[in-house]
């Protein structure tokens, strides 16, 4: 169990420093976000031709907030009346409903205090009753799991695997950066999918809604947008590094092939995600991109019909690209990433000349 000791060593002070900076930046972001969003809206509220059509969002919110027409007095409503509810349907998203977070904050604060109190009583009582020193909770947890599943031996074997020192050069980080950017894309992508609507009528308005109304919506979309570009750049940089060093040779051929498939999947991610806003740029970029696929001899027409679901880019194309982007391609990517990592683990990091 000596491996678990080092986590509080001097070395991890750097990590703690990084984490403190991270928390500080996060708090700053939380504190300044609303102010920034408001100032952006104030500056851009005058409607110039180049600006997005913000009124679409405002109208959709207004429609949500109006009373249904069939609630005229004296007349029996055709449907069951809606239960009593807050008139503002989007207040919990926009943050204007200030009292919503207070109960949760109280639960967390007083709940934590109560847990510490109960823990103190249990700890003191146990020490008095058993007359033996107190064992830390982490040790208890590790022992509890180990008694049942005997994990400590294989885990120690996995964790103590020696890594060559030359693998600490920055160009060995490129693949790791790519895979972490994939995690960033998965998290921000799920967040965006909560509010995105994949239909030609609602897609653009839902993205304008994300950028103007949803708390941190524009920040999350910006991260998703730029991390997508960064992932492609890092993927290509990683591939060029492997190519230049010549470490794709035997016995690592299949690692190169799986990495190449991952590059193609990353490009498919970018290509299918680009259409989702359903604006002019996206529509015509997808038209041009799919027409390149349609120029392949013999199977070109089949490729075109498969990509566009017909001969033109329509709402069906949007549905298909959305399904590919959020379900099919991620699953295939995860499978290939697991294979890629497993092969690296088995064969070790290649020693350059």
């Amino acid at each position: 169990m000596t491996h678990y000791k080092n986590i509080f060593s001097k070395r991890s002070r750097t990590v703690i420093l990084f984490a403190a900076i991270l928390i500080g930046v996060l708090l700053l972001a939380v504190a300044t976000h609303q102010v920034m969003a408001n100032s952006y809206l104030d500056e851009n509220s005058s409607t110039t031709s180049s600006d997005p059509n913000w009124s679409v969002v405002e109208n959709s919110v207004a429609v949500l907030n109006t009373e249904p027409e069939n609630s005229v007095k004296g007349e029996r409503p055709a449907t069951v009346p809606a239960p009593e509810q807050s008139p503002c349907l989007s207040c919990h998203i926009t943050g204007s409903n200030a009292g919503l977070w207070t109960p949760l904050a109280r639960w967390v604060l007083f709940g934590t205090m109560g847990l510490i109190f109960v823990f103190g009583i249990v700890k003191t009582g146990t020490v008095i009753v058993t007359r033996s020193p107190w064992k830390p909770l982490t040790n208890r947890g590790v022992e509890w799991v180990d008694e049942r599943y005997q994990l400590s031996e294989p885990m120690a074997k996995i964790l103590s695997k020696p890594v060559p020192k030359f693998a600490l050069h920055w160009w060995y980080c490129l693949g790791g950066i790519t895979s972490f950017l994939f995690v960033v894309q998965a998290i921000t992508g799920i967040m965006l999918a909560f509010y995105y609507k994949p239909t030609p009528e609602a897609a653009l308005a839902s993205i304008q809604y994300i950028e103007t109304q949803v708390r941190f919506g524009s920040a999350i979309r910006a991260i998703h947008h730029w991390a997508a570009n960064g992932m492609i750049v890092m993927c290509i940089a990683h591939m060029l590094r492997v190519f230049i060093m010549g470490v794709y040779k035997a016995p690592r051929e299949m690692n190169w092939v799986s990495g190449f498939v991952l590059l193609i999947l990353t490009l498919v991610f970018g290509f299918t995600g680009y259409l989702l806003p359903w604006d002019q740029t996206a529509y015509w970029a997808s038209t041009v991109g799919t027409s390149i696929g349609g120029a392949i001899p013999i199977i070109g027409d089949l490729v075109l019909v498969f990509l566009r679901v017909g001969w033109d880019v329509t709402g069906e194309t949007l549905s298909r690209f959305f399904a590919l982007h959020v379900m099919v391609v991620p699953i295939i990517t995860v499978v290939f990433m697991v294979a890629h990592f497993f092969m690296i683990r088995r064969q070790g990091i290649a020693k350059p000349l």
Partner: protein, 134 residues
Amino acid sequence: MSDIKPVKDEGDTIPFYPDHVITEAKVVLGIVILAIIIGIIGSFAPVGVDEPANPLLTPAHVKPEWYFLALYQLLKYVPQTAGVVSIVLAVVIAALWPFIDRKKETTTKARNIRFVITVIGVIVVIGMTIWGGM
């Protein structure tokens, strides 16, 4: 299998945990901080959207995503079928490159040649991308 040499000398290696994991954690924290900075900038200046899609109105300059610009520019100047066939062939050859280049290396000569080829290739592709973006 002769290429897989488990590193015996402890002086040349570090343990995966905690040394290597902490190094990777620093990289991850750096990316997270970068992402948060991008998010703060994104709150000031959202990515934004274009005009709603109109299938009947083709814009003056139709462009694909930036990573397809080089391909798009190439296809403007070579016959389309030949261009697409050569691209598909290039992708297949690149995917199966380890099975084509099987020679064992003992000197750094081949690596230097690959480095020069890569630099030239990257410059050409970046040039094509900028040209296609104009």
